[in-house]
Symmetry: D2
Subunit: 378 residues, 4 copies
């Protein structure tokens, strides 16, 4: 593997959740090094954040335009190669465009732009630039989603005839029912959030998965939104009938008022020979239905998976990817102890755990060898 | 947050799975920076690997002893602060001991040592050193395992009276039934693998979780191993009856011949007032039973969880921690494209996905506003 | 409980699955006794079937009209009180109507009639008759469906705002793709099957559950069918957008080409305060979501359930209703043995099982009392 | 099928749950007719109960001995052929023995006897009698349990090497912690309940399933009970290590203090080539693990199942057997209405449901045919 790619970050500072997600993801495969950033419109906070995450501060710029200007002065082999755009939605388009126009690759959060016209304009800029543009429709990175796509591509479902995707959340529920709140929150203000709340924020993920997994394009759609209240201006729920090529029909359902639902993205695809079902909250399980045979449950990391699914799996079968995070929590606990900070005694296993473990193992061997007798532990 | 902790790595080079896990985990919270290492007994390979993951090679030492020697010559504020020991099992003890003796903190893979005597010796060295020693019993890092511990601590189960842990894998199955293989594999050779295979490798994790979650100590045990074949010298399966303080009894079951099982670690704890069940392969779900009430399912990231559970959760409820990895797969795809390498067209979403997404969103709004009519997509 | 109700059966003879279902159901609560029937258009077969299930043959009539005529001659306290109509769909209306007109109660399979006009006519006949008319929308009998209705009625979801029902099957799949078959099967022939296949056969169940559980009425609908092939005349898949009173919106999805799906009826209802999800293939589990609290899983037979849910549960919590059938299988095995017929040796547990069971229990007591030693079984 | 078998019932009157279960089961396959009984030690109550369930009262005897005596006077082709013994445990042995000695077949609830000596004596009586003796280990009647047995028999797991069964309930929990209650309840009184509570009542079911599914015999066992309190005389929890023929080992776990558990019977069997897992509370799902292949989920009613599994399934795939009960609830509601009794309006679907259903179906057809427009319902 060659040297790490020089990465610039736009936005994502402080407590930004999307910031953590991108940063961790950029580290995971040892491919990227953050060399420059504008984490925050406030330059001081931007620098402070760089210190907090221990990144050299010399290329923490005061704003996006300065970043472009200064980086272009650097020799090509030092310059930022790709910028990750994690700013508020309305900035995605101008930043991505200027980056492409100036010869930078772009990794961009979704929604890509505020409307379709901007999208088409950005597409043109991209074509002209010859640079890489990656949109972070994160769910397409799951090994089992990729496996789904490959199985369909390989004809394991036969001709597709039915698609059904759902993205149900309940988070807007405490807001929508309060007249004061629903008229003031930026998410439900069309001047700030764009033309659609529910469909623009989450429905589009479901749409993307439908096209990603089937390899088919939606040709036409019919949609019904629900605003719940007369005075609410943005959709908080909607159902879309879709038609795809080749007599395929389907439905995309999205809701932000599905009370109690967390991040309920799920997709069902049926074809002549079989069906596939996947749910984001149990992302390691892919259900494969076939006529007259038992349901099969595919999981990551097995040789029966496609190459591209396996290439996205780093650990042996049965280890959910969450184990990275679990291990990270232990490293975090140890970091606190090393720095002499307070920590909860459950934050990392200690010497005592190790001693007891060896005591246990020796005990089991002794008990077995002595004819299954009781052994006291120290 | 202060500057990053200077981390040394012992082992974990090349394709080592445990190496990836530790490296990613050390990055996730922006706490550690790898400054030195002996990734491999072969120095050339060690240096090559450092280059591959883009770490400066000046502190890639030819062996462990040199690492200690050279690091001690550095000023304290440049020196490695903590070493992560990821070498084969028999090296854990000598390395950890020498590190502690020389004033380094230690993060150590399990099993901590080869036997109980070594463990006691290491414990003494640790006490004398005053340094941090963290053992990577990874499963204790899961938010829901920590939540389990806190709920029990807070009395939500009342007095505990029954514990039941299981760790079933099937991976040794293709080896054990082949006489040739079972007599040659190092895992089943007591001179290399230590006194126990199944109980030492995985049973001890189940044991650790029992003590971790209940806060109680196992006082005595009775064990029965299964070797399956007369000529096999190591346990590949075993069941342990346990007694804990206060009339608590329970059972720990471990197997490496549970054919088809991947990494089936599960724990059930029952007390006077309720029960808790957790399974590693669905780590975001914690099942809470109480007399006469509906089963409750706890998930990470909700305010109803304990502080320490929440501190280990970085994303909103409903986002499995695996989403870090999913996003990382997209960054990996983009990296391939940026470097001009081959990649599968599903490895990252592109401009086209973005354009179609905006087309979709505008289409849904138009369909709804025009009275739920069909809208063609471009 | 007074004497059993005198029940007449129309249809349901031979291997009819619907016949078994009705017959068993009528026995379960000791309420009904079958006293007369026309099991089959062929009178000989009808009589043979009566003998097979050991029902007196004197009131097995040659046809439906004769049944009415002859029963009316009997004194009222001997006469059939209620007829269960299990004939092909097109006979439901004329039979039900004539029964009501002649003073019989009616239990009728669905679809109630072939079209809406017949339905309205039957409704008028029913009103005039003063008799009981029960339509066997079977799924409303599940304890957890009834619990769902009661919880919504009691306001546990607050004001409803979203409903979503699915009924996916895959059974028509092997037929629809074969041009010969799809043009000849009665199910896809509008002259025999009525105006709709998929929506009429299964979609209507989903519709019924939506209205049953919410207590709200669908006020308008918009539907898109899929016929899959140009030459196919009946819907085999469809999606219906629905609007209910009070700004409630929702979707009903039905398919007979969801390959591999068995009987996938599921319903999700969301309201201001919570959500409820139920799936027919796991009918004993009702999932209750509430904002900010752990998911709760309701199961039958617990005091926390409503009275009407409990009244439909005959066994202690944790015993799926399927246990009736499991026990029935054992009775069936014993019947074969008693009659000297062939049977598989697993069809009922024998004396040997009983002896070994007692041997086992005594062994466990002995082992424990002697200090956890090994005890040989005989 | 020949005429129904003449069945006598001993016990099971009034609200007896076991009584309902046996009665319903005996009806389900149209094989049995109840012709005589002693439902209750109190003859008046026995007769009253017979009237309640509408059974002729002429053969409701005043006690068991009279039943034997009088039945023997009847001609053989009128006489009770088989008696179902549902009395308290201590009566199982004397009744079963006398029945066999007098030439009656026996269906007997478990535990078969109070101890092993009685069991051996009964075995001898059975052998001498030449009659059928069926013990109602109900769980062996589930189609998926039978499928499990057949798959193992057919070698689909290869040589078995590990068995693991669990039967966890929590019902005794509210009793055991109350000193007053635990010293007075008959279940924990050895003079009434026999030698074992937990192992005798439920552990023996787990034991039976282990032998039933594997076809192997337990050769020796080692057991540890938990009484929880010094003053409690009966086991309320226990774990049993078992050894079977051929180096098979395993564990049986049973508990009545697993708080919140309902009827948690589960079994896991692993062999050289695969594993099988089944759980009683989801009895229609059988999980089949094989090395290197996706998990397969077997369900009842499919042609891929064995003949004996299919013979125990009466309905198409996807219809849980609980649907019998669901339909029965609707018949019950209709019965109440027919008798003019009070009923909840959800107890059976009515004419209105039928009318609305037809309105819905016609609406969907109209909406589709008119180009997916909104149609109002009446």
């Amino acid at each position: 593997m060659p040297k790490k790619i020089r990465l610039g970050i736009l936005g994502g500072g402080g407590d930004s959740l999307i910031g953590v997600l991108h940063r961790v993801a950029s580290h995971i495969n040892d491919n990227y090094q953050i060399v420059g950033a504008v984490f925050n419109p406030n330059h001081e906070q931007s620098v402070a954040f760089a210190k907090e995450i221990d990144i050299p501060t010399n290329r923490i710029y005061k704003d996006f335009d300065t970043l472009i200007e200064e980086e272009l002065k650097l020799p090509e082999d030092e310059r930022i190669q790709v910028c990750s755009v994690q700013t508020p939605n309305f900035l995605h388009f101008p930043m991505a465009k200027k980056l492409l126009d100036n010869g930078f690759h772009v990794i961009c959060e979704k929604p890509m732009t505020m409307d379709y016209a901007e999208a088409k304009e950005l597409e043109a800029a991209h074509k002209k630039s010859g640079k890489v543009f990656a949109l972070t429709h994160t769910y397409t990175g799951y090994p089992m989603v990729r496996q789904m796509r490959e199985m369909i591509k390989n004809g394991e479902l036969g001709k597709i005839h039915k698609v059904d995707a759902r993205y149900y959340q309940g988070w807007i529920n405490p807001i929508i029912h309060d007249k004061e709140k629903r008229s003031s929150v930026w998410r439900l203000d069309p001047t700030k959030a764009g033309i659609s709340s529910c469909m623009g924020d989450i429905g589009v993920h479901a749409f993307n998965l439908v096209e990603f997994t089937t390899g088919l394009k939606v040709s036409s759609l019919l949609c019904d939104f629900n605003y719940l209240y007369e005075d609410n201006k943005m959709d908080v729920d909607g159902t879309v009938l879709i038609r795809m090529d080749n007599h395929v029909k389907g439905v995309i359902r999205a809701s932000q008022v599905a009370t109690g639902e967390e991040n309920g993205l799920a997709i069902r695809i049926y074809g002549e020979k079989g069906g596939l079902v996947w749910e984001q909250e149990n992302p390691n399980f892919l259900y494969y239905f076939t006529e007259g045979k038992p349901l099969q449950v595919y999981k990551p990391g097995h040789p029966y998976n496609s190459e591209v699914s396996l290439s996205g799996t780093k650990l042996p079968a049965g280890h959910p990817e969450g184990i990275f995070d679990s291990m990270a929590n232990i490293y975090l606990g140890a970091a606190k102890a090393i720095r002499g900070e307070d920590y909860n005694d459950c934050e990392f296993p200690t010497m005592e755990d190790g001693v007891r473990g060896m005591n246990f193992i020796e005990g089991t061997v002794a008990s077995h060898k002595q004819g299954n007798v009781w052994i006291d532990m120290d």
